[in-house]
């Protein structure tokens, strides 16, 4: 559903079926639409059986990494000598990504139901939903839904009469992008500075409060009730290309298209169709220049690459990029790629938690050099310096924020070198006065 537009027949609306339908927000409305049936079913099963269904469905993490969800759940220790936790990552901060926001705004109970099923499967009595602090409206909606879920006995000491204890809390973020990184998110919930932790230990061994923890993205968990209701086979069959990628994917499209918005398509959908058909193509008189298909952290595609890209985990890798969070940023031929890359780098420099030397210093330095180029003071050596820095920043740090900053720089320089050269040679007027 291309909210706020009507859904396109080419979409496959599963998660977004009730986007725009205010009635789905209430407890009663959700139940009328078939809500909480899946949780009831799951509570009647063995927890392992729930995990197995999710495994068989082929559901993979929608936050960006695409790790098989059922497999992740199965990493949780089976013995229950210590508390287990589920964290729902609703810190959606990746530039260009706004799908989780819509899930929480329109179908809060879908998320609550998904979380509850996940909790039951992994043996976690407590789930924290960590919501980006700027999402004031979704937080309100989620809190109201959570209260209603408790009031109706869905959650609490005896969840849906199962005798199981399922508690859920909303934790507001405070404006740090890095808190979307799973271990930084846990530190943040614990009241510490949101710095990513060294791994290992992985969260399944020692996560929130040092206890075994699973952390899943909003979209991932929201898909779980559908899988329980309609079966693993249904879900694993939702695939237009690679069978390793199944289900539907919400894609947040922004940038230079006529109809930006969220679109839900079956895995394997062509990027070209998304841009030209679903989003109505480029603005009048413009042509496609570049696409970042998976949120700002993935390599930039040229027009040719983008038009051949298949939107699933394997298809994106084949095109030299990643599906990531599904935040599709579209650039037309009016866009200054050097400036855009500087903006992206500046975002990462600002959001670096500043633990690791390469990230703290590398991101800041990258921005300085890009600004200098944009100010017309760059040299060819600066290009080498940028690539050298990017190399130093890749694969050396605790989390991947540093890598994420390097990615657009490297792909930008590789694919749009002429624009850099134009600033350096003076062929293009400087756009910054400082630098």
């Amino acid at each position: 559903m291309g909210y706020p537009h009507k859904s396109d027949p080419k979409e496959n609306v599963v998660l977004s079926e009730y986007f725009g339908d205010a009635g789905a927000r209430t407890y009663d409305g959700w139940v009328e639409r078939g809500g909480y049936k899946a949780l009831k079913t799951a509570l009647g099963m063995e927890p392992n059986a729930v995990t197995d269904i999710v495994k068989q469905s082929g559901l993979r993490g929608r936050g960006g990494a695409g790790f098989p969800t059922g497999l992740k759940w199965s990493f949780m220790p089976k013995e229950k000598t210590r508390a287990h936790y589920l964290c729902c990552n609703a810190d959606e901060s990746e530039p260009g990504t706004f799908k989780d926001r819509e899930i929480m705004r329109w179908t809060p109970h879908a998320l609550i139901e998904g979380c509850a099923i996940g909790q039951y499967a992994i043996g976690a009595e407590v789930c924290y939903i960590y919501i980006r602090g700027e999402f004031t409206e979704p937080i309100k909606v989620m809190q109201a839904a959570l209260d209603a879920a408790y009031a109706n006995g869905v959650l609490g000491d005896n969840a849906m009469g199962s005798g199981k204890k399922l508690d859920m809390y909303i934790h507001r973020g405070a404006g740090a992008y890095i808190c979307g990184e799973e271990t930084a998110l846990m530190n943040s919930i614990e009241g510490r500075r949101g710095n990513p932790r060294i791994k290992p230990p992985f969260p399944a061994a020692a996560g929130l409060f040092g206890m075994p923890t699973t952390i899943n993205n909003v979209e991932t968990l929201a898909a779980v009730p559908h899988i329980i209701n309609r079966g693993a086979e249904w879900y694993s069959g939702l695939s237009l290309a690679s069978e390793k990628s199944s289900g539907t994917k919400l894609l947040s499209v922004c940038g230079n298209v006529r109809k930006p918005g969220n679109y839900e398509v079956t895995m394997g959908f062509p990027l070209k169709e998304l841009i030209y058909d679903l989003c109505g193509g480029m603005p009048e008189g413009r042509t496609l220049k570049a696409v970042i298909p998976g949120g700002s952290s993935v390599p930039i595609l040229t027009r040719e690459e983008a038009e051949g890209c298949i939107l699933d985990y394997e298809g994106c890798v084949a095109a030299g990029t990643m599906l990531g969070s599904g935040g599709v940023i579209v650039f037309d031929d009016s866009v200054d790629m050097v400036y855009q890359i500087m903006r992206l780098a500046k975002f990462y420099a600002h959001e670096s938690c500043a633990q690791c030397t390469q990230c703290r210093e590398g991101t800041a330095w990258t921005v300085r050099i890009l600004e200098r180029i944009l100010a017309g003071k760059g040299t060819q050596d600066d290009i080498d310096l940028l690539l050298d820095l990017a190399d130093q920043m890749t694969g050396k740090t605790i989390c991947v924020l540093s890598d994420s900053c390097a990615v657009p720089v490297v792909s930008g320089i590789t694919k749009f070198r002429d624009e850099f050269d134009a600033y350096i040679s003076g062929a293009r007027e400087p756009v910054l006065t400082h630098g």
Binding site: R193, I198, H350, T357, Q358, T363, Q392
Partner: protein, 974 residues
């Protein structure tokens, strides 16, 4: 064990050892910046990344455990490239002044730059500004130069994890990330304790000690000696390293945390910054003799004034100073920027030279030669001994001096003068603990060790001890124990730091401890939580105890103590539940008229719950002075020879007289007088020898004590400074500070440690053992000692618990006595099987609650207690001559609850007059919620408002301990 290869070398490493651990062990150096022993591993600097065969990325050596079969290359091209990258990225925002000058690397970071050949980009090519952060401008001890900060966060972790304070933190994100001091740059508001742990861990000197740099500058780079010593302040016995240059201590550092030391390498503010008193201009460097002593026909005669003129001088008495108006205490506030600090100038003005010895005080004295000083002292001691007999003499030994020195002093007075009138400040310290522990367990020291409390106790019960301030390094260990999950129960009338963080704070009416402990024991019995097995096998008289605590129901205890009965029950259950409970106490219990009973009732609780005699269940009277345990061990108390061998036992007299080469008949079988009885009207003592004590500030009811001192026949004082007591002396003998001599000290856990001499004493001053040896010889007692270790040989031949002690063996961590043989490893905890009583059983004594001597009434409505502050030590002779410490607490203050302050109409800094039945002082107000309403606290460090002018000299009957903790006072604004 995992087998792996590092740089081709095969190694084995136990489970959990990191690559860095294993490499270090096999002598392969991997550079580190953020890693520090003992701190949590954050792996943020990324300099220690190494290549591991089969791994996609470089692996952080500090964080990655060795796995079986790993092949590690620490200097692979990728690893070395990464190191250069880290260094050049850090260098890009680091000042290059030192590097540009081609000087030696100033720190480990600069050394790495040299090792890896990383050169700075020239200044005009710099892309990024230097780093910045909170700077602590005008701080007296710790300053920051954050341009050299590399954000390794060692300081943040040390502050939070080692000291459990959390003053420092990382603020902001990205390129503007910086280290901050509290939220607004004010270390005071952020509860900084100035311990200097941050200084110690900083790898680039971004956080540095201010005083040495200010005073010694360049000299710091070329110190000529580093000597391992033991901190001269509290009883924790922290090992410290003294850095000396030209006979001056220029810096104190602490040992590596990897060495085994009682302090695990930490110090508090006094240990790290309080060393400069040793080079204060007031140090005595020549003997002084009171003008009026003249030598005629080979004899010294007093030709000066008599009666009231005999010992006067151009000074105010302590009483006079107490009543005088004085500058008000400056507010304690420091800001981020200099312009926020007008008040500090005021502090500097107020404190400049004010605490130094007034020049007038020297006027009644003349400088003398050692020959004259020794002659006069020996002549007068001998004369008064002949005239008045043995008990006309008395000696105050010193808890600040070494074991050897205390041993020599009691040896002189026992062997040569036949008196047991030997005592020291333990009388005002743990004397009631010693009497109570002797009665119950026949012991006089802590049963356990500090590290067992930190690592092995499940419950820590603290009664009347402000450990975080008075034993800060142990206090930090207790906080670490609490952080790891041990329960903390604190019984204290004040909400001191540990009380505030305790699981249960029993905030009682002062002096009601017996009722509390009996009440807890009542509940223990009621719930059948006692350790019946322990009781059956290890104690006697249990029925009397059961009977005696019967009436002390939690409700009745609550009525007496003011603590809710529920809390008493909870505390009792936690205490008895253990499974391993350690019990700590200090002056809050001992300095009472009923101090003996209070400790007895606490011992009853310990024993009935079986919380002694195993690792994790320690009985710890926390000793105050650095050698108060040792001085007592050496027999510097009136009733025992060294190692607690009673003087009343003729066999002991026989043994010691033989060793000391005197006729046993000349030695006394009668226990001697105690400190609190000696300096008192009607005392038979006419000659007093004092080594390193300052009773005119530390005795209760100073006005009367000062009067007594002004009338004694002969007074010799051996000290570093012309103290309030020394100004009344006939002879002042300049001794040596801890750094100027070697010797041994015993800490609160019976650990004997040896110190190394770092510098020579100033001028003609001598080591105290040299002074006492010479006086012994001149008084006719054979004393063939050429060095402290020779004295130790005599000690270990006479003290059975010390038989295995030698200077050689004491090197390193020292030894915890008993050390009964040369191959004995020392004793970390006592009494696993029996107690040293005759039958091996503990003797329980029933005790009843009785109120303190002075209760508040309409005329004196407040209860005043006295004690120590973090920044000062006892009578202030040392700390008030230490620039950094004195600036933190430059003036005397009284802690008043804000409610009471409002009622009195006074605010912070206002002067008030505090009056007890005995005297008055004028002192500045400091409002604080730490004291309960109608209670006040006055530290006893300050001459100009001496708390002990007010205190009650009433004495506890067993130990002759004055009731220093409870004085009824009235407060008036002035």
């Amino acid at each position: 064990m995992n087998r792996a290869t590092i740089d081709g070398k095969t190694i084995t490493a136990p489970e959990g050892h990191t690559i860095l651990d294993a490499a270090t062990e096999s002598g392969i150096e991997i550079p580190t910046l953020c890693w520090y022993p003992g701190l949590s591993v954050v792996g943020n600097c990324r300099i220690c990344l190494v290549s591991v065969d089969g791994a996609e990325k470089l692996i952080p050596a500090c964080a990655a455990p060795i796995e079986d079969g790993m092949k590690i290359e620490t200097r692979s091209p990728a690893a070395v490239d990464n190191r250069r990258s880290v260094l050049s990225l850090l260098l890009e925002r680091y000042p290059t002044t030192n590097l540009d000058a081609g000087a030696e690397p100033a720190n480990i970071f600069e050394s790495y730059l040299a090792d890896y050949g990383v050169k700075p980009t020239t200044a005009n090519q710099r892309e990024l500004p230097l780093r910045s952060g909170d700077e602590r401008p005008d701080d007296p001890m710790i300053r920051h130069d954050m341009s050299t900060c590399i954000l390794c966060t060692r300081c943040v972790r040390a502050c939070e994890e080692t000291q459990v304070v959390g003053v420092l933190d990382t603020a902001e994100r990205g390129g503007v990330t910086q280290i901050i001091v509290g939220t607004d740059g004010d270390p005071d508001k952020a509860s900084c304790t100035w311990c200097g742990e941050c200084v110690r861990v900083c790898p680039t000197n971004a956080i540095f000690e201010f005083l040495p740099r200010e005073r010694f500058g360049e000299e710091l780079k070329a110190t000529d000696k580093v000597a391992r010593s033991v901190c001269p302040f509290c009883g924790v016995g922290c090992q410290i390293d003294l850095h000396a240059k030209d006979d001056t201590i220029v810096r104190v550092t602490s040992p590596a945390p990897t060495e085994i030391t009682p302090n695990d390498g930490s110090t508090c503010v006094k240990g790290r910054f309080g060393y400069d008193f040793t080079s204060h201009e007031d140090r005595l460097n020549k003997p002084l003799i009171r003008k009026g002593w003249e030598k005629e026909n080979d004899r010294w005669e007093w030709r000066g004034g008599t009666d009231s003129l005999r010992r006067t001088g151009p000074w105010q008495t302590i009483e006079g100073e107490g009543a005088t108006m004085k500058p008000a205490a400056p507010p304690r506030r420091q800001g981020k920027r200099l312009k926020d600090l007008p008040l500090l100038e005021r502090t500097a003005e107020v404190s400049a030279n004010r605490v130094a010895t007034p020049i007038d005080w020297y006027e009644p004295f003349r400088e003398a030669t050692w020959e004259e000083a020794f002659e006069l002292t020996a002549q007068e001691l001998t004369r008064i001994h002949e005239d008045d007999g043995p008990d006309g003499l008395a000696v105050f030994a010193s808890a600040k001096c070494t074991n050897e020195e205390n041993y020599l002093l009691q040896r002189l007075f026992r062997a040569r003068f036949g008196t047991n009138n030997i005592d020291h400040c333990t009388r005002m310290c743990h004397a009631t603990s010693v009497s109570a522990m002797s009665d119950t367990l026949a012991t006089a020291a802590a049963s356990g060790s500090m590290r067992e409390v930190e690592h092995a106790s499940d419950v820590i019960f603290i009664a009347g001890a402000n450990t975080a301030e008075t034993h800060p390094v142990f206090g930090a260990a207790l906080k670490r124990a609490h952080e790891r999950g041990a329960k903390l129960v604190v019984a204290d009338p004040r909400k001191v730091e540990l009380a505030a963080r305790a699981d249960v704070h029993l905030q009682m009416t002062p002096g009601t401890d017996v009722a509390l402990f009996n009440g807890m024991l009542n509940h223990v019995f009621a719930m059948q939580l006692e350790d019946t097995d322990f009781i059956t096998k290890r104690v006697k008289n249990i029925d009397a105890i059961r009977q005696s605590v019967e009436p002390y129901t939690p409700e009745r205890a609550s009525a007496i103590t003011g603590i809710p009965a529920e809390l008493i029950r909870e505390a009792a259950e936690i205490y008895a539940g253990g499974p391993n409970t350690s019990t700590l106490w200090a002056m809050g219990l001992t300095q009472h008229l009923r101090g003996h009973d209070m400790v007895i009732s606490l011992l009853n609780l310990i024993l009935c719950c079986g919380m002694i005699g195993r690792w994790g269940a320690a009985m710890m009277p926390v000793r105050g002075q650095n050698n108060v345990q040792g001085a007592s061990d050496m027999g510097a108390i009136p009733f025992v020879y060294p190692d607690y061998q009673p003087v009343a036992d003729p066999a002991n007299r026989e043994k010691f007289s033989r060793a000391w080469g005197v006729d046993p008949e000349t030695m006394s079988l009668t226990p001697g007088m105690k400190v609190t009885e000696i300096a008192k009207k009607g005392s038979p003592v006419r000659a007093l020898y004092i080594m390193g004590e300052n009773p005119i500030i530390s005795d209760p009811d100073i006005a009367r004590a000062e009067e007594w001192f002004s009338k004694v026949d002969f007074l010799a004082v051996q000290d570093l400074f012309l103290t309030e007591t020394a100004r009344y002396a006939d002879v002042v003998l300049p001794g040596a500070a801890f750094s100027e001599k070697s010797g041994t000290y015993v800490n609160t856990e019976r650990r004997i440690q040896v110190t190394e001499k770092a510098v020579n004493p100033p001028g003609e001053a001598l080591a105290d053992w040299e002074i006492v040896t010479e006086i012994s010889k001149r008084c006719g007692l054979e004393s063939p000692f050429e060095s402290p270790d020779e004295i130790m040989e005599e000690i270990n031949s006479l003290a059975p618990s010390w038989t295995g002690v030698s200077y050689e063996r004491l090197k390193g961590a020292g030894l915890q006595y008993p050390v009964p043989a040369m191959d004995h490893p020392g004793t970390s905890f006592l009494f696993p099987e029996t107690f040293p009583t005759d039958d091996g059983l503990a003797n329980l004594h029933p005790v009843e609650y009785a109120p303190p001597d002075e209760l508040p009434d309409d005329e004196f409505p407040y209860v005043m207690s006295t004690g120590r502050q973090l920044y000062h030590w006892h009578t202030g002779t040392m700390t008030r001559r230490s620039a950094g410490l004195d600036q933190r607490e430059p003036t005397p203050t009284i802690e008043i609850n804000p409610e009471d302050a409002a009622e009195l109409g006074v605010k912070d800094g206002d002067l008030v007059k505090v009056t007890s039945k005995r005297n008055s002082i004028v002192i500045s107000t400091r409002t604080s919620f730490r004291v309960a309403p109608k209670q006040v606290f006055v530290p006893f460090h300050f001459r100009e408002a001496a708390a002990n002018l007010l205190t009650n000299p009433v004495l506890e009957s067993h130990a002759k301990m004055p009731e220093l903790k409870i004085t009824a006072v009235r407060i008036e604004p002035v």
